[in-house]
Amino acid sequence: MDKLKLLWDCRMQFIEGLGITLLISVGAVIIGFFIGVLVATIRICPKNNIFIKILDKICGVYITVIRGTPVLVQLLIMANVVFASLEFLDTNIIVPILSFGINSGAYMAEIIRGGIESIDKGQMEAGRSLGLSWVTTMIKVVIPQAIKVVVPTIFNEIIIMIKETSIVSYIVVLISGEQVRDLLAVADKQGMSTGFYMEFIFTAALQYLAVVMLLTLVQKLVEKRFKKNER
């Protein structure tokens, strides 16, 4: 019972930690999704001028580099190289949000591109043959079908990323010398200082689990919504 009371006494720290974890996650998802849509669009659109071709190459390099290096390394580079000189910013939050956002963007881009490319080419051709533009056919025909394909994988990517944010607590010094006080960091610190390490870590685990389960629920709802049309 003492243990429970101890954990309860630390509830404010836990809430703050969970808040930080969610803040990083939500920020990263927004950035990642935005980048993903943009990059996927560039990669699939008809390459009919040199400007698009160059952008396409850049996007290709971005995806290769991001997917080819560990997210931990990306975090360290972001913290120690890119943001090293910007001391006036609260880099402890911005660095993880940006790092995970940029990381997630590469995966989202590939998921979205894969989803759109999985739709039969005949759908686009039929639209074009009726005199509709590429953009109109994309919006009215291809994307609505691709969304259904992509939703489960996007959620999967989001879930993986939320859990992955827990590594930020182990990069103790980003720049300011302070630890990022996310959910795991709080559990780690309080667990150490109270001497009930496992209890605190388990509590953190339960909170991650709760977030992921909640998200899975949302996923089910979204999937149901998109399944409504079409038998």
Binding site: A126, G127, S129, G131, L132, V141, Q145, E230
Partner: protein, 265 residues
């Protein structure tokens, strides 16, 4: 035939994929009401030729004059394309839309475009009334087309619930909804179960006898004989022979055609 109105005029059409030249110079004039059957061995470039006509494949060189404009260089390809119906081997109905919406999508988008141009951006009320009107008109037209093929009860069904024959007939009327000047058919019955070929050919015949201009890539020799007024044999990227169906099938000149016909007839 020479006094008939010209619909399509194709001059020296060539198409290569990389270094592989598939179409090596085809000339063809299509007049109003013509039904042109296109036959040839598999892989000879029949589909490529047909797809070049509405620039689904951009020709490497040559010209395709339609409605007084060269489709290869025109600025408004989409508008011209909307007047060229295309029917695919695999139907390509929009899977995310009901049958009715499949038929209405393109006409509605064009109607809205027209309304925006005529009424102007700022007259919201007037515009929304006009759009409502257009929607009703387009839907009525779509239902009429569905009645024509006896599928009006499928208006709210999704394509996944239809048979191949039904899908293809709906794909045909979807093209018709744009009131095309010419229709391109690429093996419209090749993907169908045998018992459904009849209903689709029947509809195409009906269209032909109503005066629709069309080019049909087909392996149905009986259909070519019966419905076409001109048959083309494409081989090695050119038209090796073109004639009326009687002459074409009873008195072929080209050696390769003779061989081909002896195999398929």
């Amino acid at each position: 035939m020479s006094d008939k109105e010209m619909v399509l005029s194709i001059k020296d059409l060539k198409k290569s994929f990389g270094s592989h030249e598939v179409i090596k110079g085809i000339d063809l004039d299509v007049c109003k009401g013509d039904v042109v059957a296109i036959i040839g061995l598999s892989g000879c470039g029949k589909s490529t030729f047909l797809r070049c006509i509405n620039c689904m494949e951009t020709p490497t060189s040559g010209s395709i004059v339609f409605e007084g404009e060269d489709l290869v260089t025109t600025k408004d390809l989409n508008l011209h394309r909307s007047k060229i119906g295309m029917v695919f081997q695999h139907f390509n109905l929009f899977n995310n839309l009901t049958v009715l919406d499949n038929i209405c999508l393109a006409p509605l988008i064009y109607a809205k475009k027209q309304i925006k141009k005529e009424i102007g951006f700022w007259h919201f009320k007037q515009k929304s009334l006009a759009i409502k009107d257009a929607k009703k008109r387009v839907q009525e037209q779509a239902l009429d087309l569905l009645k024509l093929i006896g599928l009006e009860e499928k208006a709210n069904a999704y394509p996944s619930t239809l048979s191949g024959g039904q899908k293809q007939r709906i794909a045909i009327v979807r093209s018709l909804a744009m009131q095309p000047k010419v229709m391109l058919f690429d093996e419209p019955t090749s993907a169908l179960d045998p018992e459904m070929v009849g209903e689709v050919l029947e509809l195409i015949k009906k269209l032909a006898s109503s005066g629709m201009t069309m080019l049909v890539v087909t392996h149905e020799m009986g259909f070519a004989k019966e419905v076409a007024n001109k048959v083309l044999f494409i081989d090695e990227g050119v038209i090796k022979e073109q004639n009326t169906p009687q002459e074409f099938f009873t008195n072929p000149q080209n050696e390769r055609l003779k061989e081909f016909l002896s195999k398929v007839l």
